[in-house]
Amino acid sequence: MSTLGTSGTGASASGATAVGASSTGTLSQAGSRTTSLGGFDANAPLLQVSDLNVHFPTEDGAVHAVRGVDYTLRSGEVLGIVGESGSGKSVTSLAVMGLLPGSARVTGSVRYRGQELLGQSDRSMSRVRGKGVSMIFQDPMTSLDPVYRVGYQIEETLRIHDKSLSSKAAQARAVELLELVGIPNAGERVRSYPHEFSGGMRQRVVIAIAMANQPEVIIADEPTTALDVTVQAQILEVLQTALQETGAAMVLITHDLGVVAGFADRVLVMYAGRPVEVGSVEDIYYEPRMPYTLGLLGSLPRLDSSTKERLTPILGAPPSLLNMPPGCPFAPRCPLHIAACDEAEPPLLQVGAGHQAACIRTAEVAKAHGHAADVFSVTGADADLIGVGQVADLTTTEESRETGAPGTPPGDQTEPGAGGTTGRTGSVVSPEPRPTNGDRA
């Protein structure tokens, strides 16, 4: 990884502060972390998740929400976890924090500084939460307690981990923290209640709480998703400050590929409860090896491109996590699908230095060099498809209206599950006969 807070992201941080108003105060203890938590091995890997599995029992059977997640977080790095809704990215981090409901069955291992966190009592987890590993939640409207003043909520976090801290010192530090996250008039605002703050301001308070005890790991679960873009930019700035002040490593969970591009050092792409590609941020964006990653990038409209290139949607929907069939879970939506894909689920294979992908056809994906239209070809197929098959004549009911030319939209719109319409063969977009499109790339 290319180090956060030093060269790589440090540059973007300073660039980003063009007109920012964030880093005003400084932490009194900044720099000198009050050691790692007692009883933990400071030389062991910071956070090591291996073979994490989570099942939720439901009436229809167990939902296998997380199916074998492995990752190691190195100190000082930002690991981005991306995926669509339902891919298990949030459940993974809740499992790490031990915050899943009691009914969830969690297996595998989560080691923080060498110590196993899974299966620990809530009491001993409370020592780790906030101090070793802290968390920033998506919705600042619900992650603060509405009946307590924000200052109290920060002080609470401080005093739980440091019983000797006087209430006065805790107050002073709460003000300091609020200043650090860019809340104006922090001295007065500590006495405000959460409802007196806007969404962006509340998220700043949540960040202040997360960094209060100088944690070594901050897990941020969609920290900016509920916010407007201009506020998102402010909050990302504050997060950058939080990382610099605490020196913490971060797991950043988001579905926004733009946020990850600017913030993360390494990226883990999740699909159907499993990592399907892991690599440096450059590997993932410029040389993806898993068709899903490529498809995800191709379906993003680009703000910085004036050419109206057609988007390349991924057909269908993610599989149900109830009774997964054997084989690659992405196979039903994959344009590069071959018979071998249905035999067994591919493990994460090494495709480059620090770059792994769970796909047996990575060589074909490599040829696209991140250009989704080469693999998820729809533009070529579109023209052939229009007018093929039945014509939806929208002008049947009334002759007087001259609506435009009737026609069917291209079949690539069809989502399997709702099935395809008839007779469209030989294209990537037809759900039933799946052609091997590998040679196209």
Partner: protein, 354 residues
Amino acid sequence: MTAPTTDRTADGADRRGEPILSVRGLEKHFPIKGGGLIKRTVGAVRAVDGVDLDLYPGEVLGLVGESGCGKSTTGRAILNLQPATAGSVVFQGREIVGLGRKEMRPLRRDIQLVFQDPYASLNPRLPVFDIVAEPLIIHGLTKDEKELRSRVRELVETVGLNPEHTNRYPAEFSGGQRQRIGIARALALQPKVLVLDEPVSALDVSIQAGVINLLEDLKDQLGLSYLFIAHDLSVVRHISDRVAVMYLGRIIEIAEQEELFTRPAHPYTQALLSAIPLPDPRRERARQRIIISGDVPSPANPPSGCRFRTRCQKFANVLSDGERELCMTVDPKLETRGTGHLNACHYAEATSVL
């Protein structure tokens, strides 16, 4: 639109032909009631406060802004779903503002709405067939059951769903498929204009792309015009011919898509574009970001003069005290100010921020 630039006006519109929808001075104020036994109106939330728009046949006009800027209320006021407080909306030569429900009904066939949340906008207790057939039945557009069946079938196929599945309920479809059902329902009456209120923001990106492609195809095939309301500027850039940016109930900049994204002139548009992270690590990390401070002021009590001045980086860092005076006292009108397109900033300057 591939018209020569000479045909374009300052708001980027291709002025060949009359606008199909013309909005002038549209206002929608929501009263604030005071406490006490007798409720008195003590103020008003000026959600939409003087919006002018023209929508031309066959074009996509994007309307963007942050939450609370009044973009959705504008869409609803245009459709007369929430009666406008003041202003005029002329649709195909006919004034809509002030029309009653009955008088609106025939017009509703030509202008339809697609809602944001496909989970909330479809009746969960109706099978898809009934949902799509309902507008046809209400407007009495089909002669018999057989014709109704074939129309619904066509519509469902048009939006890329399997007509065999029309006996299913919305809950059996994914988000993207539900949004397609919503689109099929809106197309049932063969409208000329669709108002799309955040049609893809509830969807995952890979699904969203399919719906965007569908909307583009439908526009071309059926000759529709869209008023595309969204907060995601990447989506808006992709689909729109022209883009209007709203802030606190007003349009503060409007231009042709390419012009707005490459040469934004209003500081708010510049900040908005600069705030959006690009999914490209090298470019994203090399960017110089303009970060505006604070949150949107209350629309019940907008700042004097220019409404953006409280958050404006130009006002705070560049202008002299003398120049600021103008921002504080004079409400900037939508004018070109030598930037080539309409904007509402006294000190507008077209610069590239992407």
